[in-house]
Subunit: 365 residues, 2 copies
Amino acid sequence: MNIIGPTLIVSKNLVLKNINKIKSKAEKNGIRFRPHFKTHQSAEIGEWLRDLGVNCITVSSIRMAECFAKVGWTDITIAFPVNLLEIKKINKLAKTIQLNLLIESIEAARTLEEKLKHSVKVWINIDTGYHRDGIEWNKIERIIQIASYIHNAKKMHLTGILTHAGHSYKAKTRTEILAVHEDTINKMVQLQEELKLEGYNNLQISVGDTPTSSVADDFSLVDEIRPGNFVFYDLKQVQIGSCSEEEIAIRLACPVITKYDERSEILVDGGAIHLSKDFIVDEEGRTIYGYISQPLDKEFSKVKNTYVSAISQEHGTIKTNNKNFFQKINVGDIIYIIPVHACLTTNLMSKLTTLSGKEIQATCK
Amino acid sequence: MNIIGPTLIVSKNLVLKNINKIKSKAEKNGIRFRPHFKTHQSAEIGEWLRDLGVNCITVSSIRMAECFAKVGWTDITIAFPVNLLEIKKINKLAKTIQLNLLIESIEAARTLEEKLKHSVKVWINIDTGYHRDGIEWNKIERIIQIASYIHNAKKMHLTGILTHAGHSYKAKTRTEILAVHEDTINKMVQLQEELKLEGYNNLQISVGDTPTSSVADDFSLVDEIRPGNFVFYDLKQVQIGSCSEEEIAIRLACPVITKYDERSEILVDGGAIHLSKDFIVDEEGRTIYGYISQPLDKEFSKVKNTYVSAISQEHGTIKTNNKNFFQKINVGDIIYIIPVHACLTTNLMSKLTTLSGKEIQATCK
């Protein structure tokens, strides 16, 4: 592979391993595996999932739904509360595929029923503690009001209750992730039962961010999981406790531009328009935009005492106290950065390159 | 204009005003105005600059240089230390346009001389305090070594010394920006004189980030300025003291998805893949991903006590203590976000829409 500028490398083997891990967990629990495609946004990687038996997917926008419908996906959930301004696109899509939408307000339910031309499945979006979107799980009256409206509607079929427990991203250990998982399941099951008492039977439960899907084993009380990041994983997921560094399936390959002996820093061609500005804070309080590893076709090892310490639009600064590494690196070499946030990095790069050199378009834009 | 999803709106009037402000400053000082095109990455906005008399430009990558060479720019500086792995592309470009490169190591100078097929102009990249890239301004011996090598080279023409005083971005007032400006000019002029003593006459000085170009008036001792962000400006520039909020020429228009009465928050369709994750910290220590204003075709006013408090991949959360604003906003309305970082937002959006509804491709990808 002839790398001359920032290049996003992906290991298909690691991706397949990551997919199989979650897929077999779903199978053991006898539940639906509906992976989120926002992380890779790639028709090709979609095929890797399809080849392993996946037949329904999650996306985060109508744009992505259109993109994946075009390449043959026929059962798509847009896991973003419905944007009513996109009704024309929704109608167009609902005509040809099984479209599943999220509703979290009575206004949205009313407008949708009024303007829909084709039937859709609807999930009520529930907030189980993340407080980003959804109706708080214990606002029973409001949830019943919406359930009742949808139940009586003609073009909407009430499928179930759905949550994204994004507060799992604040975890720092597997134990904390498991606590979020347990709490989420408890709340969703309790809500499901309360709705059953009101006569809403057979409502399904959809959960499953990457941290809980990766760490928890028992999903027997839910009907589907929708993780996305797990195909690649990243440093944020390692910090949370979702995965090991060895499982991260992508690297940003960056040419070395200059070495600064006086401050043990290396400038690389690769910055915020490649990695994004997302960061983690390490145990010493340092802001980390990435770590450095061997290329993906070598055995995993992380360069010690070395990290991406600063990024601007196209510049990346690597700080190291590792004299051996610093001495060996030369201007014109390639450095492999483990990204902090795989979804944003992939969205920015728009293209991935496999270890065999095959280029994969990554963005449904 | 029919907005149904996140849309980046630009006011051509404000852009032209911003351009004229800096351009007239360059003219008053009798110096070259070489605007940085990394902020807009747009052939069309390039034409707005060309129509105002601009004939030489700055970019931050060979990719951008190729893109703007294609649309008729013939004098381009790549303000990024030369990436030697891109030598084929450099040669191709240097054949057809006046290409100006940055050098900051003797290794780069040697490799370039060996592999160049066409002549280029070369600037020595100087670090005047930002410590991201460049040779520290007072490492005279090293600078002279490189100057000497380039001076004797056949395919490189030594043009001058160049710096990006990016530490101006750490300023919090106009006074602090002016201090960075004065210090930068002093260092560059001192270096120019030391090089003159060594026989390197007529070396030019290139400076000019957006903060110093916007605030300082006296550029009489330098030869060119290269600001980029000033075409749009953003909240970061306001916080530094470079501009007023009224001068910011872009807004991310985002549909309102849901209102959460219990926590006075509004969910919009618009997140990290539209705005980037860049943020400012306000006086109360809050992380701000954007403020809210009237649309760009209305008189400027900012919505008080309201800000983008959180973003994930496609979700934006607007927090408000402004009851009047919260009451008036409805699901399906459009909210106009003033971005924190215009360059990253524009790079992500790839497309701008003018107030008259014209779509402008923004990315030379």
